[in-house]
């Protein structure tokens, strides 16, 4: 393995603008307990040169109509690749339809967007690039702008064999970079590999997180793992979590046409959740306290409410979790264990244009 890495590290290419581009297959590095059900399309294998290009494109404001917005504007590393806003502001000063999603451990995701409508990161990336409320620039214009730079034609040649820039090649490179955004060093990960001893509150919060409530047997729980389980705290699920009696946003029902899919949205990763406020598809909750209060007290009943939230309570006959104030505090202590400071400071994920002026 080490030998392979040395050989791979030895391969580099020059862009003609002075940058050295690493070459060869990109080796994903992640804990064994994340599992190997990863999603890399056969027609877009991950290479070091592709990731290098994708990172430049991810942070490239020329891909927006105003030359001011890049993917990195609404997906900021310091906020685990979110932007702290309920809805992001696009080039036309219009608002995006839904809350900017955290980009972490997408290597394992198979359905993208809050409604899961895209089957690959490549397909996903094409949407914000052209949406008038986001980056708002036709792909042909982006292609033209990049073709007129010193930097990009040479890089596309290194990655794709010739210097032709196309929309497909742009989104492929961006997707390659996004797949490398792996978060696996939170205190929770450290705990799972016996390298961190949780505090009392964190341990009690973890127990609540993992257990379903059973008031008959005197078992208290928050049942979070039903949807946020496993070492990645991500299961690819879509639910109506009782935010509204009639969801203003149709969610998945917009394309399935099923009444039970109304207000059904992706269950997001809880990785770095303390960094990604505000919460929910419309960013309605400003803090984790508000989120926990929702599940504890404010589940709205409807025909679309997911089965696992019906009658799930610490009180016999309760309609929502009914956690005690102390338990909420413990749960939030655990959620803070999911913050990965290595991930948000990793130089490999930062804006490269600071050092590579074009």
């Amino acid at each position: 393995m080490l030998g392979l890495l040395l050989v791979v590290a030895g391969l580099t290419a020059y862009t003609g603008t002075g940058s050295v581009v690493p070459m060869g297959d990109y080796v994903f590095n992640y804990p064994a307990n994340f599992g190997n059900r990863i999603n890399v399309p056969a027609n877009n294998p991950t290479t070091q040169q592709g990731v290098y290009l994708g990172r430049l494109l991810f942070y490239e404001p020329k891909l927006s109509a105003t030359n001011t917005i890049s993917c990195g504007s609404c997906h900021q590393q310091s906020k685990a690749f979110t932007d702290g806003k309920a809805l992001s502001v696009g080039v036309n000063n219009g608002l995006a339809t839904r809350n900017s999603m955290s980009l972490a451990n997408l290597l394992w995701a198979r359905k993208f967007f809050w409604d899961g409508r895209a089957a690959s990161l490549e397909e996903q990336a094409a949407f914000p690039l052209t949406n008038p409320h986001e980056m708002g620039q036709a792909i042909e214009v982006s292609v033209q702008k990049l073709s007129n730079t010193q930097l990009y034609p040479g890089l596309f040649k290194i990655v794709y064999g010739d210097s032709v820039i196309t929309g497909e090649r742009i989104v492929k490179a961006i997707a390659q970079f996004e797949r490398t955004l792996i978060s696996a060093n939170s205190r929770y990960d450290q705990y799972l590999r016996n390298a961190y001893k949780p505090t009392d509150d964190e341990l009690k919060g973890m127990a609540l997180f993992n257990r379903g409530p059973d008031p008959e047997k005197g078992i208290r729980g928050a049942n979070c793992t039903h949807c946020h389980g496993g070492p990645k705290t991500y299961l690819e699920l879509f639910h109506n979590n009782g935010l509204d009696s009639i969801s203003k946003d149709e969610g998945m029902a917009a394309f399935t046409g099923l009444v039970t899919d109304r207000g059904r949205f992706k269950v997001p990763t809880l990785r770095n959740i303390a960094l990604t406020a505000p919460y929910m598809h419309d960013g309605r909750f400003k803090s984790l306290d508000e989120v926990v209060d929702h599940y504890s007290e404010h589940i709205k009943q409807s025909v679309s409410l997911s089965a696992f939230l019906q009658g799930e309570s610490n009180e016999t006959g309760g309609k929502s979790l009914k956690l005690l104030p102390k338990e909420k505090k413990q749960l939030i202590a655990f959620l803070n264990m999911l913050t990965d400071s290595t991930f948000i400071t990793d130089k490999r994920f930062a804006d490269p244009h600071q050092s590579t002026k074009n």
Partner: protein, 166 residues
């Protein structure tokens, strides 16, 4: 703002509300695909065309319920899946992946579904105690007879795909 402008705004509001209030009305179906000779799309009426079977098992409420529906292998047989005498050799490396509206997936080895291998009945149910399943559970749910945990009694089934283990 003039009266005319008010009228326009009001009209826009009404149209907006109307389109929001519009309830989607498509019928839920189960798609049967993958290693089949005839892909199927099964709606509620289609399911009635098959022989009906009942299975009694406990749900999360700890009580016994009678579920009725169709034995999964009979649906798969209609789709031309290699069951019965054909379930041998490499076909034993096939499985059925069942998917729900919420993205939840569970799988069964084909041999778990075949009468030649087991008497345990696995059905695609559409009724509980003679009534249609609750919206959050149906309209279609897999019911596995006698399985201790209900985790594979997957709710809101939308797809059944027969695949080879790679």
């Amino acid at each position: 703002m003039s009266v005319k402008k008010y009228a326009v705004v009001l009209l826009l509001l009404i149209t907006g509300l109307a389109s929001q209030a519009q309830t989607p009305t498509k019928e839920a179906v189960v798609k049967v695909t993958g290693e089949v000779t005839t892909p199927l799309t099964i709606g509620s009426a289609d399911l009635q065309q098959y022989k009906q079977t009942t299975v009694t098992r406990k749900d999360r409420d700890g009580k016994d319920h009678t579920y009725s529906g169709v034995i999964v292998s009979e649906i798969l047989a209609k789709a031309g899946v290699t069951l019965g005498p054909e379930l041998r050799g490499e076909n034993l490396a096939k499985f059925l992946l069942v998917e729900a509206s919420d993205g939840y997936q569970v799988l069964f080895a084909l041999a778990e579904l075949d009468k030649g291998f087991t008497d345990r009945t696995i059905i695609l149910a559409d009724k509980i105690d003679g009534q249609p399943l609750a919206p959050a559970d149906g309209p279609f749910r897999i019911i596995v007879q006698d399985e201790k945990k209900p985790a594979r009694c997957i709710k809101q089934v939308t797809a059944m795909k027969v695949m080879f283990a790679k």
